[in-house]
């Protein structure tokens, strides 16, 4: 049986007036049912574009998938028709989006919006049935008195509730893959934890494969089985969560870890990685992280690092990966 999702050498480019932006530049990873992959990186590193590319919903006009394969249950999603793709979206592959405040359509009731996946994917027309399904889904995500909430409009709900609604909408059709794109960024810290717990619960309950996109390693640490760190459109390090946290092989991963505020660590200021992420339209020769790397050596500026494997499932793209693991 093929893995749930296998992304091979995915390349997504944006054609802009000032040049070609290689937003996703040869991304490869795979995911099994029941597994959670954390996709981490700074803004602009290509994590969201990778997710959008999986379901082929890139901004109109400029974004284009130029290479690679997206094998979903063995089937290349890049080869199927738009209509087939649409039928997969929201049924087999579901999304939980970033900002629950703006992700729900303000002019339709919760019930109306929640009925849509059922109508479009399961052809359900019966009002009573739809209503029952919606209420069931709302109950499942822990919305109190769901019967009443169905008639409410998004602006009558709190942010956390709205994210629960978005989640409920995502799982209604029993998907096998759930992509949560920074699902907690826009929420209060206390609510963040609840939503993460909810996602985790849902994932376990339905035995979903889940991709959790975040720029926050601490979120990954709490929820994921494995993690892929992206930088400048590539995965610079990937491995099982304990492996990565125990022995990060890439200086960028290490920097991200230093940026996690930790109780008990005495530091005047929160660590932040110096410099700016590189412009993906003009990547430097050599390692793209070299200009910001604390461990940079001469070779890094002119020699592009290749992937090195450490064991069967830990890989990193750094010339000094070997010595990093040792330190």
């Amino acid at each position: 049986m093929p893995p749930l999702l296998e992304v091979k050498n995915l390349q997504t480019h944006f054609i802009t007036r000032s040049g070609v932006a290689r937003a996703v530049d040869g991304v490869t990873f795979s995911l099994e049912r029941g597994q959670t992959l954390g996709l981490v990186g700074e803004s602009g590193s290509g994590k969201s574009v990778t997710c959008s590319s999986i379901v082929r919903l890139l901004p109109k006009g400029s974004g284009r998938i130029v290479g690679g394969e997206v094998l979903f249950e063995g089937r290349n999603l890049l080869d199927i028709s738009e209509n087939e793709m649409r039928r997969i979206r929201g049924s087999q592959i579901s999304f939980v989006t970033q900002d629950p405040m703006t992700s729900l359509n303000p002019v339709y009731s919760i019930g109306n919006q929640m009925e849509e996946p059922l109508r479009y994917h399961q052809g359900m027309r019966n009002h009573g049935q739809l209503h029952a399904k919606v209420v069931e889904a709302l109950t499942q995500v822990g919305i109190p008195s769901p019967e009443r909430r169905v008639k409410d409009y998004p602006h009558q709900l709190s942010g956390g509730q709205r994210q629960r609604v978005v989640t409920a909408m995502a799982i209604e059709c029993q998907p096998s893959l759930l992509i949560a794109d920074e699902p907690t960024t826009a929420l209060d810290v206390t609510v963040q934890i609840q939503i993460l717990r909810l996602l985790k619960d849902v994932q376990k309950e339905l035995n979903l494969g889940m991709i959790l996109v975040t720029h926050d390693l601490s979120v990954i640490a709490r929820t994921c089985d494995k993690v892929a760190v992206m930088y400048a459109g590539r995965i610079v390090e990937e491995g099982p969560i304990d492996e990565i946290f125990a022995r990060p092989r890439h200086p960028y991963t290490r920097s991200l870890m230093r940026a996690i505020p930790q109780i008990g660590r005495k530091e005047d200021r929160l660590y932040s990685i110096p410099g700016q992420p590189p412009d993906v339209r003009r990547l430097p020769q050599g390692c793209p992280f070299a200009p910001r790397c604390p461990d940079v050596i001469d070779r890094c500026t002119h020699e592009a690092p290749t992937e090195q494997f450490f064991g069967s499932n830990h890989r990193a793209r750094c010339l000094r990966a070997e010595e990093m693991g040792a330190s």
């Binding site: 006009g61 649409r86 979206r89 303000p106 002019v107 409009y153």
Partner: protein
């Protein structure tokens, strides 16, 4: 919702009372009606007699009171010029204006919205560029020129349509297009930009991520959200349609209220001016109320606020 309706109703009532005051005094500011009705060499007694017969000898507040009483009883007095009840003279024409207004509104709305939506979903493409050009032309070419060009082309060259007048459905086509022209262009631009704004939103992205078919994404999710600014603009445009375009009526020999209004103002026919302006404005105020209630239907945030 009830609170919203009640407050809008009260506002509407206040507006109508305001209109009655403004109409009454503005009509009288246009000049002395008797100056155009009797010769300058008429004696002072003649003048007084005329004023008395027209009810212009009473103090202004009394005249206003009579006017308000007339509004309630539906008696707006006799037109100085036509010798008929002013309301009859007005109502003889107003349906013609309303029919053309309705036709123009449909043309403007259907044309503006469909072209605007098309431009928005094909943003940057050829259709979009064509749309922008059309919208620009619409706002740059005056409607009388469009009217004359339509006549020359469809009536004189092709002989498809009658030049003017109000007879069958065919006679509505050219005047409706000419009077809708400007509004259609404005609505096209508004629809395009409003739709473009909405298409960028997260809820449109989520709708697509849910696998909603593109047609439903556009018309269900995007269009209804884009509709509020479109409707606001449209309700402004309706004012022009309903108050009767003098230029369009002139070119297409349309028996509407536009020409009648000008005639009444220039001849200082107070009862007729008052009737036209009051009834038309009241109609528009009510229409506006209708549009406001429609907002509430469209957007729950207004309804439930």
């Amino acid at each position: 919702m009830t609170g919203y309706i009640v407050s809008r109703l009260i506002q509407t009532l206040v507006t109508i009372v305001g209109i009655s005051v403004v109409v009454f005094f503005l009509a009288r500011l246009s000049g002395d009606a008797t100056a155009l009705l009797i010769p300058p060499e008429a004696t002072a007694e003649d003048r007084e007699a005329l004023k008395e017969s027209l009810g212009l000898d009473d103090p202004l507040p009394v005249q206003y009171g009579i006017f308000v009483k007339g509004i309630i009883t539906g008696d707006f007095g006799d037109s100085f010029r036509f010798g008929e009840p002013a309301l009859d003279v007005f109502l003889d024409r107003f349906p013609n204006t309303l029919k053309l207004a309705a036709a123009s509104a449909v043309v403007a709305l259907l044309g503006g919205v469909s072209v605007g939506v098309l431009g928005a979903i094909r943003a940057g493409g050829f259709v979009d560029r064509l749309t922008t050009v059309i919208a620009l032309l619409g706002q740059a070419i005056p409607s009388f020129l469009i009217g004359i060009m339509l006549i020359l082309f469809f009536a004189v060259e092709l002989r498809w349509l009658p030049t003017s007048g109000m007879a069958g459905p065919k006679t509505f086509i050219m005047p409706a297009i000419a009077s809708a022209w400007y509004s259609m262009a404005a609505l096209t631009r508004m629809t395009r930009s409003s739709m473009l704004d909405v298409m960028e939103t997260d809820y449109i992205r989520l709708a697509r991520l849910k696998g909603v078919p593109e047609r439903a994404v556009i018309w269900k999710h995007a269009f209804r959200n884009a509709l509020v600014p479109i409707l606001s603009l449209f309700s402004l445009q309706i004012i022009f349609f309903v108050s009767g375009s003098v230029v369009i009526e002139q070119i297409f020999a349309w028996p509407g209220i536009g020409q009648l209004t000008i005639q009444a103002i220039f001849s200082r026919d107070y009862p007729l001016v008052q009737t036209i302006v009051f009834v038309t404005s009241t109609f528009l105020v009510l229409l506006n109320l209708g549009v406001d209630l429609l907002y509430a239907v469209i957007d729950p945030r207004i309804r439930l606020a």
